[in-house]
């Protein structure tokens, strides 16, 4: 369960998150929608502990994010994040990029995961040697490699064509159906409708 209470965040003088409170149930697939600049990516970053809010509180499974003793360990064990731009490490191949998120997993387990996501054949290629769709699937593989309880994705289809976007959302649906909580920020209303719930944001506030 994710509970956010009265979140506020500024970029300089601009109040980009303006008192947002929300709850997301375990295993729920939630789509955050809104126009560009509405604050959905910032909210996603805050909920995923990648950004500290200027004020407000977040509790994940009852734990306050402000009093976490080891936020890195929490991130490693609880959270996966898919970025809009895949952000694969350029000097590592696809398999090494994915293994980076789950150092305790064996090489076979990583290969199995890549096969499951349909990118086993490109495991030894570098990020700049594969297509955009394959890169994004590799980024998803990296995000789920550590078996997170919550998966966050920021515009994961922003740079993909409609066919690849569908495939990514099919994959998310499957991940959600397996019990992972999923929070996806997207401006694509058609894809958002495949989530269990849509949360719309405008000017840093829930609509």
């Amino acid at each position: 369960m994710i509970v956010a209470v009265d979140l506020v965040h500024f970029y300089g003088q601009e109040r980009v998150i303006d008192g947002i409170s929300l709850q997301i149930a375990p295993g729920e697939f939630v789509a955050l929608t809104g126009e560009s600049g509405s604050g959905k990516s910032t909210l996603l970053s805050i909920l995923s502990t990648l950004l500290h809010p200027d004020s407000g509180h977040i509790f994940i499974d009852g734990q306050s994010m402000e009093t976490l003793k080891d936020p890195n360990r929490f991130r490693r064990e609880y959270i996966g994040f898919v970025f809009q731009f895949h952000y694969l490490i350029p000097y590592l191949n696809i398999r090494e990029n994915v293994a980076l998120a789950a150092p305790k997993r064996s090489g076979e387990e990583i290969m199995e995961l890549l096969e499951r996501l349909g990118i086993g054949a490109i495991a030894h290629k570098m990020a700049d040697e594969v297509s955009g769709g394959q890169r994004q699937r590799a980024a998803i593989a990296r995000a789920v490699a550590n078996g997170p309880r919550i998966l966050f994705a920021d515009e994961p289809t922003g740079n993909l064509d409609s066919k690849n976007s569908e495939k990514v959302f099919d994959l998310f649906r499957k991940i959600a159906d397996e019990g992972t909580t999923l929070v996806v920020a997207t401006h694509d209303r058609r894809l958002a409708e495949r989530a269990d719930r849509i949360i719309e944001i405008k000017d840093g506030r829930l609509v």
Binding site: L50, N72, R73, F74, R75, Y87, E96, A101
Partner: protein
């Protein structure tokens, strides 16, 4: 992690080359400065240590070159209980033929035999023995030292650069050249009387002399300390320049790699792990640069030793303790140069790192 570090270095050849280059140049400079300084100190102290337990010089002089000791003291010193042998030496420098400066040693007959005769015989009055390093550059069979002509009696070899690049003549001839009796007297002890007692007895012979044990003389010789301190200061500057170069290259690199650090932080890697990864990368470079610098310094010293123009005087020596010290200093500046920018760059929120990094 080791393989990742290596891959990262290979992926950024320009950055790797710049850090490697900066470090190699400064470490080579440090090696050369210290090796040459050490060579100078070692050469001269070897000459001083070669004979005698005590050294007698003129009192209150800053350099042995200016010392003038009366050789009339020699028979008096020989009579002191505990003294086995007394020899004398004049140390000077003079133009010799076309060579602008050559070390000139005037020796009492007993000291001559320490020099390895390669051909000819030891010099008598009006004769000179020339060192191997300069023999090929001097005319045969006679040469001029200052305004005097000497017949070349032989050629000698020595492991000390200052000697093999110099000339040896009798104490009397050197005395005429430099207008003095002796620069130093060397006193050998027979071990039956404590050295302190002999020192006191010799010192009591004349208020114009100063007597020290050879070890104490070498250790406290002012010129050595000036050379060593200068070498340390120049080395420090070279190291600081290396440190600044590495830190500036690493700062720019860290800016480029912020998003990578952001990703690692997002994946749950702590700041320490990220700094550790960067350290590992720079340590790879540090070790490679150190080994290259060591090889380069040894090569340059080998060339300098053989350059005819230097007459064998630049006889740099890299000792094991020096190699270890410079190695530690090199690794130290590598770590410092990398750790500060890496620590600074990896400390903010992952998402800020990613967005700032992708803008960079």
């Amino acid at each position: 992690m080791f393989i990742h570090a290596f891959k990262s270095l290979r992926a950024n050849p320009m950055r790797t080359l710049l850090v490697f280059g900066s470090l190699t140049v400064s470490v080579t400079a440090v090696f050369l400065i210290n090796a040459i300084a050490h060579g100078i100190v070692s050469s001269y102290s070897t000459i001083l240590r070669s004979d005698g337990d005590l050294i007698v010089t003129q009192a209150k002089i800053s350099d042995t070159f200016f010392s003038d000791v009366d050789t009339a003291l020699i028979p008096k010193i020989r009579k002191i209980p505990g003294v086995e042998k007394v020899t004398a030496m004049i140390v000077g420098a003079s133009p010799v033929e076309r060579l602008p400066i050559v070390a000139v040693y005037g020796l009492s007959p007993e000291r001559m035999e320490r020099y390895r005769l390669l051909r000819g015989h030891y010099p008598g009055p009006g004769e000179v023995m020339v060192g191997r390093s300069i023999a090929g550059r001097l005319p045969m069979p006679a040469l001029s030292i200052g305004d005097r002509r000497f017949r070349i009696a032989g050629v000698f070899g020595s492991d000390t650069g200052f000697e093999s690049g110099g000339v040896v003549l009798t104490l009397k001839d050197a005395g005429t050249l430099f207008h003095k009796k002796a620069s130093m007297l060397f006193v050998d002890l027979d071990g039956r009387v404590p050295a302190e007692k002999v020192i006191a007895a010799v010192a009591a012979l004349s208020p114009k002399i100063e007597v020290k044990s050879t070890e104490s003389f070498v250790k406290n010789y002012h010129q050595f300390r000036i050379i060593e301190t200068s070498a340390d200061v120049i080395s420090l500057i070279a190291l600081l320049m290396g440190l600044i170069s590495i830190a500036s290259i690493m700062s720019v690199t860290m800016l480029e790699r912020k998003y990578e650090f952001g990703i690692l932080r997002a994946l749950g890697y702590g700041r320490g792990v990220i700094v550790g990864r960067i350290l590992l990368e720079t340590l790879w470079i540090g070790v490679a640069a150190y080994l290259t610098a060591l090889a380069a310094a040894l090569g340059i010293l080998w060339i300098l030793r053989r350059l005819p123009a230097l007459q064998g005087y630049v006889d740099g020596i890299i000792t094991l303790p020096m190699a270890v010290e410079v190695g530690l200093a090199a690794l130290g500046i590598t770590v410092l140069g990398a750790i500060l920018p890496a620590w600074k760059s990896s400390g903010i929120d992952p998402m800020e790192l990613i967005t700032r990094g992708s803008r960079a």
